[in-house]
């Protein structure tokens, strides 16, 4: 194998694939990236056994061939090379030689036959989503994904089809985010699937550098996202998502509208006082005004008033301030509507100008 | 698909599996075996992996986590080439697995089926469709094939009613009209009316016999009113040869229905058509029925079915037991005839329940089974026994002071009764072990567990002790 490639091209591709490689691996081959040169294309593959990323990039190939080399080391080397440099990769017996300008590196390789191939298998459901829509789905739900490992079925975004709509849902048991988008053609019979957290975050990085459509293929156990030059294949979480629709209240009548910027600034200030772990703030809501307050035995107390749109009976309700900030960060129009029942029941938060997303937030006892 | 096993190999593996199962059974006990291990089926052996099938995912998880290691060890001791156990479940969701595991769980309830004799009373689908009155299947209630004259047990309390009913069923010329049968609930009025209808259909198929309950008469009439179809309604009822209305007290206070019934009744009696009426009271005592109606109801023969006597009840039970071909000791029948005095239906119901239970769980019928199964009928109430009562009874029984139940003394004469009381508290109440411990002088739940184990052991080794404990339990249960 012998090839030459632009440093920037190689760096970008390596950046994509190396990020799935775990820092510590008990199986040495999983630390490596698979490098395959054929025709005029260089293919880079990395996997952690649950996720595999394959990227193709143009290169001038002298001799075709393949090898594997430590992904992070290779990435670090290329990253430190000067901008605009040309990189030469060559396989010498069981070593990979990298030359660029006056630098020369020799890396240990492992046989390509040992590199685990993650097969997608039969993926009966295929559809396209624009990168923008996919980004919108991911960004507005991923913050609510649970990290508690015994509830593994909450460690991802649940995506399912319902009545011509595709729904993405994430929850950690304290809050829930649900985003809807028209069901893309081809997704009609798709199973409900749970995309693991790590897959979501790898996907998110890839979306940022792409435009146009992403082709998504699904089976009961795997998902594949195909971008222009990159393909991400991942196992799905093998579990059942809870019956989440039952926790979305339908009879909340106390409606409050608030400017997100003013609200989140005030929440942020007041919560400085709240103890680090609980971060509870109390909202005393009355017609026209909300009084935010927090107190802590150690550090004192804080109060701030803001203007709101509200003309129902006064209500006091407490929330974890971090959750309030997370949700107000998702409201693009800047105006949020809170739909409340009482101090111990779920509250719904929406963007007043956007019906596609809905957030459910459980209060705290304050 | 798993490897297709060759004959000899297959035999060897299934013998190994049988031994593994037997060892699991003795190691983990009968309940655990029945719940978890018995439903396991052996699917095959391939590349060192034993494949086992369970009906549900829940069982799969539990078997893997609780019994997986031991299963593997046992398999390996049988067959050293086994390297792993693979447990799969045949159903992916509880909603859709009815088809998948019918073979899997049928093994867990071998004693479930009712034997043929338990079924003979069942209103078997379509069995009596043929017997349905051909002239109006919709109006006439289906006849219960169990209700015939030849299985009606006659005794002093019902001999007049029985004779009168037979007369209606047999003779062309009945000297009384109407026949009014009355008596408390469940004494056999419906039985006699069905028997009349059944016999008439056999001996005089040309006669139009209509049997229905008064409530059904009422619903039919209300429907006719609603659909403005009362002419057809009248027509239907006034063209029968024999009309039998059961439980006429149901139209008490329903003035319109009563009015219509009165006219129907008169029309039929005037045309010399036979009418048979049943009620829970005599005509004169019926409440909410107009006086003119009452007097007309009493024109013919009024026959009372009196409450049962012990002899009649025993006779009924004996006949019923024979009919069910159930093997019931005479002592049990006597016991039931003695204890369940309310009415025949409840008496038969109790016997049915007892036989059904014995068939369901595969137990023979004894006095003990009867007391257990019919506890609600035999006891005045289900009051739960308290720990305090247990302590009191046990202290009295063993002749120790009640305070010793809470004391710290450990001499055997005192510790043993205390352990028995703890044992019974666990058996007879739902209280938690720590709570039981607290009530015995602030003892720990492990002390209670020890007491329970100790009493269990002693019951095994000392039969008179076991009888003592059993006696106390019975007394406390009331």
């Amino acid at each position: 194998m012998k090839l030459t490639i632009e440093r920037a091209e190689l760096l970008r591709s390596l950046n994509h694939v190396q990020s799935v490689v775990e820092r510590r691996n008990t199986i040495p081959i999983l630390s490596n990236v698979l490098i395959e040169a054929s025709g005029s294309t260089l293919r880079l593959t990395a996997t952690d056994m649950d996720i595999a990323i394959v990227e193709s990039v143009a290169a001038s190939i002298g001799t075709e061939g393949a090898t594997t080399a430590p992904a992070h080391t290779l990435y670090d080397i290329v990253r430190k090379l000067p901008d605009g440099a040309q990189v030469e990769l060559g396989k010498e017996e069981d070593r990979l030689e990298l030359r660029s300008g006056r630098s020369r590196f020799t890396l240990q390789t492992l046989p390509t036959e040992d590199f685990p191939v993650m097969t997608g298998g039969d993926m009966p459901h295929t559809f396209n989503l624009s990168a923008d829509i996919l980004r919108g789905i991911v960004d507005r739900t991923r913050f609510a994904i649970s990290t508690e490992e015994t509830r593994y079925y909450l460690n991802g975004i649940y995506v399912h089809a319902a009545d011509g709509i595709m729904r993405a849902v994430a929850t950690d048991g304290h809050r829930l985010a649900r985003v809807e988008t028209p069901l893309p053609e081809g997704a009609e019979g798709m199973p409900g699937v749970i995309m693991p957290r790590k897959t979501v975050s790898e996907l998110r990085k890839l979306i940022d550098e792409s435009e146009g459509d992403v082709e998504i293929a699904l089976s009961d156990t795997k998902v594949r996202y195909a971008f222009d030059k990159v393909e991400l294949t991942s196992k799905l979480i093998d579990g059942t998502f809870p019956d989440y629709e039952r926790v979305i209240p339908s009879g909340n009548t106390k409606m409050m509208q608030v400017d997100c910027k003013a609200f989140s600034n005030a929440v942020d200030r007041v919560s400085t006082i709240a103890t680090e772990k609980m971060r509870a703030v109390k909202m005393a809501i009355a017609p026209g005004t909300m009084t935010l307050s927090a107190s802590s035995q150690d550090s004192g107390s804080a109060v701030e008033e803001i203007e709101i749109g509200y003309d129902d009976d006064a209500i006091e309700i407490g929330f974890n301030s971090r959750y309030l900030l997370d949700i107000s960060g998702q409201i693009e129009s800047g105006q949020a509507r809170f739909e409340m029942a009482d101090a111990s029941s779920p509250t719904i938060v929406r963007d007043v100008e956007d019906d596609s997303a809905l957030y459910v937030l459980m209060p705290m006892r304050v | 698909m798993l490897m297709n096993l060759g004959g000899a190999m297959e035999q060897r593996l299934s013998a190994q599996w049988a031994r593994v199962r037997a060892r699991m059974r003795s190691e983990f006990g009968e309940t655990a075996f029945q719940s978890w291990l018995k439903p396991l089926t052996f699917k095959g052996f391939h590349n060192g992996v034993v494949h086992l099938l369970v009906p549900t995912r829940f069982m799969q998880n539990w078997i893997e986590s609780q019994y997986g290691d031991r299963l593997l060890e046992l398999w390996r001791s049988e067959n050293p080439s086994v390297t792993a156990i693979d447990v799969v479940h045949s159903a992916t969701s509880s909603a859709s697995h009815s088809a998948g595991h019918s073979g899997g769980h049928s093994a867990t309830h071998g004693a479930s089926g009712f034997s043929a004799h338990g079924r003979d009373g069942a209103a078997a689908p379509s069995a009596n469709t043929d017997a349905l009155n051909s002239f109006d299947a919709g109006l006439c209630a289906p006849l219960d094939p169990r209700f015939r004259f030849d299985n009606f047990i006659v005794g002093k309390p019902n001999e007049l009613a029985f004779a009168a009913a037979r007369r209606v069923a047999e003779a062309d010329n009945v000297p009384f009209n109407p026949l009014f049968l009355f008596g408390g609930v469940g004494l056999g009025k419906t039985h006699l009316m069905h028997a009349i209808a059944a016999q008439l259909r056999e001996s005089a198929p040309e006669k139009r016999v209509l049997y229905l309950s008064a409530e059904k008469f009422m619903y039919q009439f209300i429907r006719a009113l609603r659909y403005k179809d009362t002419m057809a309604f009248k027509e239907q009822f006034r063209s029968v040869d024999v009309l039998m209305i059961d439980d006429v007290q149901f139209i008490a206070g329903k003035d319109n229905t009563q009015e219509e019934f009165f006219h129907t009744f008169n029309a039929l009696v005037d045309q010399n058509r036979q009418v048979v009426i049943s009620a829970d009271k005599s005509p004169a005592e019926l409440e909410g029925i107009e006086d003119r109606m009452k007097s007309r109801l009493g024109w013919g023969l009024v026959a009372e079915i009196h409450s049962t006597t012990y002899e009649l009840r025993l006779g009924i039970l004996q006949s019923k037991a024979e009919q069910m071909s159930a093997d019931i000791p005479p002592k049990v029948l006597e016991f039931l005839a003695h204890k369940i005095t309310s009415n025949v239906r409840e008496l038969e119901g109790a016997l049915n329940r007892l036989v059904a239970y014995a068939n369901l769980v595969g137990r023979s019928i004894t006095l003990e089974t009867a007391q257990e199964v019919l506890h609600d009928l035999l006891r005045a109430n289900d009051r739960r026994v308290t720990i305090e009562e247990i302590q009191k009874r046990v202290a009295e029984h063993f002749n120790v002071k009640l305070s010793e139940m809470h004391s710290a003394r450990r001499s055997r004469g005192i510790a043993r009764p205390r352990q028995v009381a703890m044992y019974l508290s666990k058996q007879l109440t739902a209280r938690s072990l720590p709570e039981i411990g607290r009530k015995f002088g602030g003892r720990d739940h492990t002390t209670v567990m020890h007491a329970v184990r100790k009493v269990d052991e002693l019951k095994q080794s000392d039969s008179s002790f076991a009888e003592d404990v059993e006696l106390l339990r019975r007394m406390l249960e009331g």
């Binding site: 508690e148 015994t150 509830r151 929850t171 950690d172 048991g173 304290h174 059942t240 809870p242 019956d243 989440y244 039952r246 926790v247 772990k277 609980m278 459910v360 459980m362 705290m364 006892r365 | 719940s35 829940f58 539990w62 159903a91 509880s94 909603a95 697995h97 009815s98 595991h101 049928s106 309830h109 004693a111 009712f114 338990g118 079924r119 009373g121 209103a123 289906p142 609930v185 469940g186 409530e215 149901f250 829970d280 309310s342 009415n343 038969e348 119901g349 049915n352 329940r353 059904a356 239970y357 068939n359 369901l360 199964v373 609600d376 009928l377 289900d382 739902a430 209280r431 938690s432 072990l433």
Partner: protein, 226 residues
Amino acid sequence: MIGRQFPLALEFLPALGRADFLIAPCNQAAAALVDAWPDWPGPHALVYGPHACGKTHLVTAWREKSGASLLDPARLTVDGLGDALDVAPGTVGPPAWALDGLEEIADEPLLFHLLNSVRERQGSLLMTARAAPSRLNFTLPDLTSRLAAATAVVIEPPDDDLLAGLLIKLFMDRHLTVDPDVVAYILPRIERSFAAIHQAVTALDRAGLAAKRRVTVALVRQVLFQ
């Protein structure tokens, strides 16, 4: 600290198939009754036992087998009875109905009429109740005697093995993974009733979700035994 953050009431559908029903001496007869259908001694059968003992589970399993339609005791009326008992066209096999919660019916003549109608239609009716038929406080003599004649089987209080199995099953119904030491800790300390086991698992699930913690012995101690 437990209890300040309210958790969302996230739930799963419990496993209510026949094979998911754990058999023990105390409920053996009830399960056998369901299995024996359609070979019942009569048209009316009743399973009775304390709250949360598995009556609804058996009804669900029986409906799966018999195709019985569920009668809603709160909505049943005399006028609507005919419609409620209508069998869907194309139904094969004997007609069957289930009535889960006999004590919810206050209209005794209605119940009496229902029992008669089921018999007349040569169908089967599986009923459930908290107590034996003779303890249900019905007063209409015709009704009580008919109920007394139903094939009634009891579910008795659970034994230790069943409590253990049930505890595990309920955790799994909630997709909660617990170590055996959690089960071993709870069992000797808890009230030995069906209801207590259900309440305990619900409380632990909610507390774990609220605190974002695994269900461990430490959590159990805090939630149930303090």
